[in-house]
Amino acid sequence: MHWLDWAIVAAYLIYIVYDGLRLTKKSQEVEGYFLANRSLPWWAVGLSVMATQLSAITLVGTTGQAYADGMRFIQFYFGLPFAMVILCMTAVPFFYRAKVYTAYEYLERRFDAKTRALTSFFFLISRGLACGVIVAAPSVILSIVFGWNEWVTVLVMGLSTTLYTMFGGVQAVTWTDVKQMIVIFVGLFVILIVIIGQFPAGVSIGEAVSLAGVAGRMKTVDTSFNPNETYTLWSGLIGGMFLALSYFGCDQSQVQRFLTARSVSEGRVSLLMSAFVKIPMQVLILFIGVMVFVFYQFVQPPLVFKSDDRAKVERRAEYQRLNAEYEQAFAARQQAALDFANAGNQGVTADAARQSFTAANNQMNGIRKRAGDLVRNETGKPFNDVNYVFPTFVTTYAPAGVIGLIIAAIFAAAMSSVSAELAALSTATVIDFYRRHFRTEAPDAHYLMVSKLATGFWGIFACVVALYAGRLGSLIEVVNKFGSYFYGSLLGVFVLAIGTRRATGDGAFFGLLAGIVTVALVGNYSKISFLWYNVIGCVVVIAVGMLLSFADRK
């Protein structure tokens, strides 16, 4: 890597840690440490909400997914704006005016201590592990692509984030999130310009989009109602809305964001900012992946993007035969792509080029699949290299300086998510367990010290998980799937708490357990897409919770 790239990455890391640490003086009591004394402006909270959700997995995995599968993934976000509107009408004013530190704290006021403890415990387990995956994902990818030591990458990313979150509290989380979002946006726009600038002379953006369309990469909306299909209009609208309701309304890492706002109104606007910006931003990220796909129509892509897997099979005769076939198919596809672009997407020449292009593209996909099978047989693990497409492109074709900027953006995406998770994990640990069950009366300074220690503990826990979670398969879906087992059920408990008067503590408690068990069974014994788990979990908790509550009262 060029010295300029190292300098950019180092400057980013040093500045972010310094920026977070200098906010330590504003976090001298528990309310300042966990809620920034409810003093933050809507735009900072709004950017923090977006930065928390946008992890490095989203950035790297989504571009790779667009390369392999096109824009269909955008449907995942269709339900988000509707969820934000519902939350602005319900959860935001409700939690804000209740003056709680954690969402689960309210459940004790409404139900009982055991329901609060159970929900908070599930949050700690699921998000503590997810936090490790968020650190692991970019570390594994960067270590393979750049040949970096995975341990060093995990520790640099995890410990630097832990350091500023531990001392600066939620103030540091929010204000570093703002800067990290700027780095991410600048990185995305710069890399898009770099990709488009490397198209052959005569290939315009319009022709590039047409070419992507011929290869099926521009299909955005699938209206079929198939619950086994992951990304459709309906799974995005309904399942995605339930997921967003659960994540933004019941997950402490997001609830804590709007609790730091100056007022209910500013809390609402911070969420509505995501409702406005999230879909266009994801379109931009996916579009970058599609443009990488178009770029590789004119420059031969590797047969296998994941270099360590490739190294295991590239000496085998079968791989070399596949590679030779791949080169021939690429030459045919490249010529067809150029013919299609030169024909201006119209007329008999364009139709012939389109057919040749489709045939060659299908042939290349077939060869790549066979190469994937070869890797799978060799390694004994499922093969998936979509997470390596974007980093491989950046390291191979981006100029010096841009590589550093993109690595800084990947670091920023990971660190912004991790810092918010650490702050939330620490808040739940101290407020829901330590102050509630172990040391109920103590000076504020004592709780502040314990809060910092809790942040440090969860940071180290995340690093340890990250060092062992590196081979979890398709990284982009791992975190979402993991959350889906709990999220829908958690949402059901809050619906019972806020939306009904009849629900009892026992109803909510056992309803939650029933919801989680049901989703686990559905997840393991059916082919229903994970986006529907949230709907199932929520409905089961409400149904079981209400039934038990009625039985309780009789």
């Binding site: 269709f78 704006p81 005016r97 992507a212 369309g213 955005t220 209009l233 007022s263 109104s265 409702a275």
Partner: protein, 42 residues
């Protein structure tokens, strides 16, 4: 819906419903636009 425990009341912006409707209409337009864009290049 259950009432939260209120410590202080702020002056509420009176037109939140209009904001919510704007976001819903905007999102529907965005989805239809994306669908049409995809169809155009299929």
């Amino acid at each position: 819906m259950n009432e939260p425990i209120r410590h202080d009341e702020e002056r509420e912006y009176p037109h939140w419903k209009r904001v919510y409707i704007t976001i819903i209409v905007y999102t529907i337009c965005l989805i239809v636009g994306l669908w049409a864009f995809g169809k155009l290049f299929e």
